[in-house]
């Protein structure tokens, strides 16, 4: 006998909390059982529940960059193969960027949930797998010119069939990843999360009845759609345009252009990217779902920044996109796309907010640092003799807003990821951290200044290490808004053992780009130093609260010299050098 649950406002709230708690428990499973730091420290994954058609019901979304991919990956798999493709105990994996994924490292796993013989839902986990093969350890080939150089591409295939290993698929995957032990562990962390999601959803259906739980999911989706449309109606109708230059694609040194026209008409928003550059040769292209994630992100920022509306597919329905295939915002085969997710997507959010600043100036932010500042390295660990590989990112400055300064040292605005603690990092990898901190004066001056970026210096402690990077915003700085100044751009330097000075990688190694390169070999004693980009300032610096400026100088966030940019300066109190 099921427990009675009326699907009124209270009942829906109970169900919403139950669904989101299931998603959160799934996330804990991944965090606690995964092998790679990108999952258990970086939290570069999301866990979700979806309905039988692939609509999102609930999420623990650590990473908003995945919003566009999550529902579409499942829905398009269903559309391509039909629901009969799925049987109880199956788990399907998929990382195909042309079929709904963000880029090759992102793997979506989906498990059908059957109650009796009926497919009623899916549990899902999407995560950035640390190593997927390809030309560069850490699978960020920043000079890749096609998808085949980026790693192993999996269309939707079954990893588990009826609860049993699909051994042939596993053998292919493990043979093509450089660190198969990590893949084994991380894939099983995802599988464990899916199994927990399945069990908890089934228990919920057992408690309240399948019909109540399934129907409740649909009503929550409809409720969210209604709420978000009501927020969009409050935005002023109109067409709001913006354009940006991106400094290079990793292969050439020419910039490319992204244009957007945001159309608000009644209760819907259209983001039209017509007029953006054709897809570029290097991996700075983004996939359709990445552009979709960016517009969801921007719309949520201006309509529901506190996430009061349940985040499910209903929130996506009022948002439409026009992303021309073959452009930088919708790459087609065989174009590469690994940097489009990490380094174009955050800038797309900036661009969309710049367009929306004309409609709702008080609800947007200046440009964020806009680069995940990706560092990749691998080699044979001198202590274990085993091959290792890692994907590493650090915090940057967020843009100032109408309400406050930009956050300091925050991992990009399209993720909620964390940095990896130095102790964990040094335990795992042969790199010694010599310096780690925030960069004085890296936030753009403004009524509300941009957030500070970070800097780190590391020394190689292995005989050699293969090193790659994909940084952006080194030549085109994050822009300020409404009179705010630009943030400080990024920087990536190397000092060879025995030398006195840090120099750029293009100077030392002859690579095409100083911040985007692949497979440079560093030796024991070599040091790397980088600086991530700072956030843009918001509003006229002369309008900054003098007390806030004084505090910034005292804390070493703003130097006394740079304080002059704020007009009146910090006043009589001495600043403290960092």
């Amino acid at each position: 006998m099921n427990e009675k649950l009326e699907l009124d406002n209270v009942g829906l709230h109970v169900l919403h909390n139950a669904f989101t708690n299931i998603a959160a428990e799934m996330a804990l499973v991944m965090m606690k059982t995964s092998y790679s730091t990108i999952f258990n420290e970086g939290l570069d994954f999301s866990t979700v529940l979806l309905d039988a058609r692939g609509n999102l019901i609930a999420e623990k979304n650590f990473t908003p960059s995945m919003m566009g991919a999550i529902p579409n990956t499942v829905a398009w798999t269903l559309e391509e193969f039909g629901p009969e493709f799925f049987s109880p105990g199956d788990i399907v994996v998929h990382n195909d960027p042309y079929r709904g994924q963000c880029h090759l490292p992102e793997h979506m796993m989906m498990k059908p949930i059957f109650l009796g013989e009926e497919l009623v839902a899916f549990s899902g986990a999407i995560g950035h797998v640390a190593e997927v093969g390809g030309k560069a350890p850490g699978r960020f080939a920043s000079d890749a010119t096609d998808v085949y150089q980026e790693g192993l591409r999996l269309p939707p295939v079954k990893l588990m069939e009826g609860g049993e290993y699909a051994e042939q698929v596993w053998r292919i995957v493990l043979a093509n990843h450089r660190t198969p032990v990590n893949t084994w562990g991380d894939f099983h962390a995802m599988i464990g999360a899916l199994n927990v999601g399945e069990r908890r959803f089934s228990a919920l259906a057992e408690r309240y009845g399948t019909e109540t739980v399934v129907d409740g999911g649909q009503r929550l989706i409809d409720y969210s759609e209604k709420r978000l449309r009501a927020e969009v109606v409050d935005l002023p109708d109109g067409k709001y345009e913006a354009e940006m230059q991106v400094e290079d694609d990793g292969v050439g040194s020419d910039p490319f252009t992204v244009r957007v026209k945001v159309v608000i008409r009644g209760d819907e928003v259209i983001a039209d990217f017509t007029g953006s550059s054709p897809q570029v040769r290097g991996p700075m292209n983004c996939t359709f779902v990445v552009a979709l994630s960016a517009i969801y992100n921007a719309v949520f920022c201006v309509t529901d920044p506190e996430a009061l509306i349940p985040r499910n597919s209903g929130c996506y329905r009022p948002v439409r996109i026009i992303a021309p295939p073959g452009s930088v915002v919708n790459v087609v085969h065989p174009g590469p796309s690994v940097g489009g997710n990490t380094d174009l997507q955050p800038k797309l959010v900036d661009l969309l907010l710049a367009a929306l600043s004309q409609a709702v100036p008080g609800r947007v932010a200046a440009s964020s640092g806009g680069s995940s500042s990706n560092l990749l390295f691998g080699g044979t660990h001198p202590e274990t003799g085993r091959y290792y590989s890692n994907y590493h990112f650090d915090g940057m400055g967020a843009g100032g807003t109408n309400e406050k300064d930009g956050n300091d040292a925050e991992v990009t605005r399209h993720s909620n990821c964390r940095n990896t603690p130095i102790e964990v990092f040094e335990h795992r990898y042969p790199l010694l951290t010599l310096e780690y901190g925030m960069v004085t004066d890296s936030g753009g001056a403004g009524r509300h200044r941009g957030g500070l970026s970070t800097t780190r210096t590391m020394r190689v402690t292995a005989p050699e290490i293969t090193f790659s990077a994909l940084f952006d915003r080194s030549r085109i700085a994050p822009t300020g808004l409404f009179g705010g100044e630009d943030g400080l751009g990024s920087l990536l330097l190397v000092k060879r053992r025995g030398e006195d000075e840090f120099r750029s990688f293009d100077e030392v190694f002859g690579v095409a780009s100083p911040t985007k390169f692949t497979n440079v070999v560093l030796c024991e004693g070599d040091e790397i130093r980088y600086r991530t980009p700072g956030g843009g300032g918001f509003g006229d610096p002369a309008e900054r609260d003098p007390e806030a400026l004084q505090a910034d100088v005292a804390d070493g966030y703003v130097s006394r010299e740079a304080a002059g940019r704020y007009g009146a300066g910090p006043g009589p109190q001495e600043g403290t050098a960092r």
């Binding site: 579409n72 398009w76 798999t77 559309e79 391509e80 042309y98 079929r99 709904g100 269309p155 026209k261 159309v263 008409r265 259209i270 039209d272 017509t274 359709f288 439409r320 996109i321 026009i322 992303a323 021309p324 295939p325 919708n330 087609v332 085969h333």
Partner: protein
């Protein structure tokens, strides 16, 4: 809406993917075809026929027909 659905007849060895001519979305298995003024357009859903006539065509002009 005046369009109609067309199912793809594809073998599993065919690895090509098809995108919507209006919004750019992937079309996994069936397309919504409609006359866009210069011939038939291949789209992902009736919603794209609606947005084509309400926004895309007035804003950018008619699109060329699907090849």
């Amino acid at each position: 809406m005046k369009g109609h659905w067309v199912e793809f007849d594809r073998h599993w060895r065919d690895t090509d993917v098809v995108n919507c001519q209006v919004c750019g979305r992937l079309i996994p298995s069936r397309a919504w075809m409609f006359d866009g003024g210069r011939g038939e357009l291949r789209s992902c859903s009736p919603d794209c026929e609606e947005i084509y006539f309400s926004y895309v065509e007035p804003e950018h002009g008619p699109k060329e027909a699907a090849k």
